[in-house]
Symmetry: none
Subunit: 422 residues, 2 copies
C-alpha cells in the first residue's frame, strides 16, 4: 500500500470541558509518524453516540486508518462500543472469553466483578478482539468494505499503549509495508527561531530538496526537526545533520531526548568536575533544573539562593561596598557571587544569576528583565548581561537556559572544542 | 443568545506528528466551560492552507464560536492568517500600528526586527485586532455573515492565554449574555483524592442536589470544583462552600487562583516573618516555587541547596557525627538542616527537605521516595517523615507541596487558627 493516512478520534466529555489534557492523541501521532503513517487530522468529540459514529464514518471515508481512544469503559457514558456496532450494522454480544478474563482479573485483586464492569465483555459484531494485557477492556479492530480500518482503544493511557504496541503496530506494518521514514530533532540554545532559520536557509543549496525542516521554539531553546523518507533515509539524514551542525557549530547542544541539563551533566561527569550555583532572581530554578537529572549528585555540590543582600554578603562573601555602589544586579555582584559560591562550597565551577525577574522591581537604569550571569573557575571569573522581556516566568526560564548554556560553552572552550561539530 | 456552542481548532504539524502535546485546547475548553459555553468538538489540523480554511468554514457552520490556535507566527509554514483572508474573501495588508509595536519590541531587546518577523503585522481584511501583551503576533476576531464568530490566537501558550483573558472573554460574555453559572474551585493539600471525596460525600445531605462537584487531582494537591447554575447561584455556591470548608477545615488552603506559595507568602507577609530553606533532594524546587510569587523577596531570604554532605556540614552546620550515624536522610539531619539555615541566614523560620528522589540511591532501610521535612522557628524544631513513590519528578513535587503545607500548618497553629474555616 505504501502511503497510509490516519486520523485519531479522542472520545470523552472530560476532554471537552478541559478537565483532562489528551496525551493519547499525541502519543499515537508520534508512533504513527515514526512508522511512516501520515496523521491527517485529530478530533476530540463528546460522549454522544451519534457524534462518535459520525466521526468514525468520516474517518473511514477520508483515511485508511481511524484510531479511536476512549469510551470503552464500563459506565453508561461509555458509548464507543455501541457506536461501533451501529457503524458495522451489527449488535453487541457478550464474549465469554473476555468475561472469564474479567472474573480472573478481579479474583486476583480479591474482589468479585463490580456491577456494570461486565459491560466491557460486550463486543460489536464484525470486530476482532485485541487483548489488553494491562486492564479489562480489550481493543477492537474492524476492516470496512472500502478496506479502511477502524481501531478502538481504551482511554486509559497505559492500557491504550499496551494494546497499541502489542497488536496494532504489527497489523499496521502488515497493511503498510515498511517505508523508511527517519526523523531527527536537533536542539539549539542561545539563538532565536528566526536567526536559526536564516542560518539554515543560507545553506539550503547543500541540503537535499526532499528534506523537511520544522522549527519548534520552546521555553528551553529551539528544536529543529529533520524528516526524510524513502531509500537510504538513515544515511541521508546523517548527511543533512552534518551540514547543519557544521553551519551552526556549538549552538546545537544535543538531539532527540537530550536536555541542556543532561548534556551539561554528562560534560561535567566526563571531566570529573563539580559545580555550585548562587541564584538570586531564579530562586532555585537553575539548581532544580540541574538536579532533575538522576545521578546529578555526582557533579552538583549545591548552592546558595541569595534573595536578600545579607545572604549575598554573609553566605557568598559579596562585598558590601559592591552592593552599595553597583547594586545586587550588576556585573561585579554577579562575578563575586560566582566566586563566592565556588569558594564557599569548594566546587570547580561557580555559576551565578542575579537579575530583575519582574513584574515589579524595575527602574529606568535596571529595567525588568535585566539579568547578569556570572561564571568562575580556577582560570577566570566574568559575567555576561542579558536583557529579557517583561514576563516573570519567562525571564526565569530564559535565565536558566542562558546560565546552563554559558557553562556548556565555557567547558567546550577550555577543551578547545568551541568549534566542534560533533 | 443564552446557549452558545464552540469548537476549537489547533493548527500545527508539530501536533500531528506528536512532538508537542496540545495544552491550548484543554485550557480553552476549561475556560469556555467555566463561562457556560459548550464545546462541541475540538480538531487538530496540519499547516495546510485549505485544510485550515475548511476547518474554519465547518466550525462557523456548526457553532457560534470557533477558536483557532497556532499558525500566526512569522515562518512560511504559518498559514492561519492566509486561510482567514480566504475565509473572509479579503487580503492581507500590513498594519502600521502592529509593525511599530514590533519594532519597539525588538528595540527593547536591543535588536532590529529580524527578517520575516514583520509577517505578524499582516492582517486579513474583515478581522479586528486583539492586542498581544506578551508577544508580537496579535489575536484576530471576525464575525461572519451568519453571526458566527471566528477568533485566531497564537499557539504560544502564554501569549494565547493573555489575549484570551484580556480580549476574548469580555467579548464572549457580551455575545452570550450573563446566564448565572457560578464555579468555584477549592484547593486542598495533604489529602488524597479518594479520602477527600469520601469526606465530602459524608456531608452530601447538607448540600443541594443541583450542586455539581468535580475532583481534579494534580501535582500540587487536589482541586474541588463546585458548579451551580440558575437563580441566586452566587449565594448558593457560598453556602455549599461553607459546608465543605466546615467539614474539611485547614485541608483547604485556598480557592481559584490561589497557590500554596501565594497563600503561604501572604501569611508570612502579614505576620512580618521571613523564611529560609535548606534543600537536598528537591534541589532548589521549594525555593523556586516560593519565589514564583512576585514580591516574595519581602519574606524569602534565600537558602542553601546542600546536595553534598560537605555543604550540609559547612554551610548549614549539620554535625558530621549525625551524618555518619544516621545519614543525610534522617530525622536529626533534617532538624539540623532547618536549624542551620535559620541560624546562618537569620530568618524567622527554617525549612528543610532531605530525601531520596530516585530512581537510584535507595536501600532496604531507606527506599526511594523516603523524604524528611524539617522545621525550625524560635519556639521549636522538629521533622516529619514521608514515604512517596518511585518517580523522581513526582517525589520532588510531592516534597515541595508537603514542605510548603507544613509551614502553613505551623503558622496556623501558632496563630491558634488550626481549626479556622476561613
Amino acid at each position: 500500500m505504501g502511503q497510509l493516512n490516519a486520523n485519531i478520534v479522542a472520545v470523552g466529555d472530560e476532554l471537552l470541558v478541559g478537565q483532562v489534557v489528551d496525551t493519547n492523541s499525541s502519543y499515537l501521532a508520534a508512533e504513527l509518524t515514526r512508522m511512516g503513517v501520515t496523521v491527517s487530522y485529530s478530533l476530540t468529540v463528546s460522549d454522544d453516540l451519534e457524534v462518535i459514529q459520525s466521526a468514525m464514518v468520516d474517518g473511514m471515508d477520508r483515511c485508511g486508518l481511524t484510531l479511536v481512544t476512549g469510551g470503552l469503559g464500563p459506565t453508561p457514558d461509555d458509548l464507543t462500543r455501541e457506536a461501533a456496532a451501529a457503524l458495522a450494522g451489527s449488535s453487541l454480544t457478550v464474549n465469554p472469553k473476555i468475561l472469564n478474563s474479567l472474573k480472573d482479573h478481579f479474583k486476583t485483586l480479591g474482589r468479585t466483578v463490580p456491577r456494570g464492569s461486565e459491560q466491557v465483555a460486550r463486543v460489536p459484531g464484525g470486530f476482532e478482539i485485541l487483548p489488553n494485557s494491562k486492564g479489562t477492556a480489550p481493543g477492537l479492530w474492524h476492516k470496512g468494505q472500502n478496506g479502511s480500518v477502524v481501531v478502538l482503544l481504551p482511554g486509559v493511557p497505559h492500557e491504550m499503549k499496551a494494546i497499541f504496541s502489542d497488536h496494532v503496530i504489527p497489523r499496521i506494518m502488515q497493511i503498510k509495508g515498511r517505508t523508511e521514514i527517519v526523523q531527527r530533532t536537533l536542539k539549539a540554545a542561545g539563538i532565536g527561531e528566526t536567526v536559526l532559520q536564516a542560518e539554515i536557509e543560507s545553506i539550503n543549496h547543500l541540503l537535499e530538496p526532499a528534506l523537511r525542516i520544522a522549527y519548534l521554539p520552546g521555553a528551553y531553546g529551539v528544536r529543529v526537526r529533520l524528516t526524510i523518507s524513502g531509500r537510504n533515509a538513515g544515511e541521508r539524514i546523517d548527511a543533512a545533520e552534518q551540514c547543519i551542525r557544521a553551519k551552526l557549530g556549538t549552538v546545537i547542544f544535543g538531539q532527540d531526548d537530550d536536555t541542556l541539563e543532561s548534556v551539561l551533566g554528562e560534560m561535567l561527569r566526563i571531566r570529573g568536575m563539580t559545580i555550585a550555583v548562587a541564584e538570586s532572581c531564579t530562586g532555585g530554578m537553575v539548581l532544580n533544573q540541574l538536579t532533575n537529572v538522576s545521578g546529578s549528585s555526582r557533579y552538583v555540590l549545591g548552592g546558595v539562593i541569595a534573595y536578600s543582600n545579607q545572604v549575598k554578603q554573609h553566605q557568598l562573601n559579596v562585598d558590601a561596598d559592591t552592593l552599595r555602589q553597583f547594586g545586587a544586579v550588576s556585573e561585579p555582584a554577579a562575578v563575586q557571587m560566582a566566586e563566592g559560591v565556588r569558594a564557599c562550597l569548594g566546587s570547580d565551577i561557580g555559576l551565578s544569576v542575579t537579575g530583575i525577574a519582574g513584574p515589579s522591581g524595575g527602574t529606568a537604569d535596571k529595567p525588568v528583565g535585566l539579568v547578569w550571569i556570572g561564571y568562575s573557575d580556577v582560570h577566570e571569573s566574568w559575567a555576561v548581561k542579558h536583557q529579557f522581556g517583561l514576563d516573570r516566568d519567562r525571564n526565569k526560564q530564559k535565565s536558566v537556559v542562558a546560565a546552563l548554556n554559558l557553562v556548556r560553552h565555557s567547558l567546550l572552550k577550555h577543551s578547545g572544542h568551541e568549534q566542534e561539530t560533533e
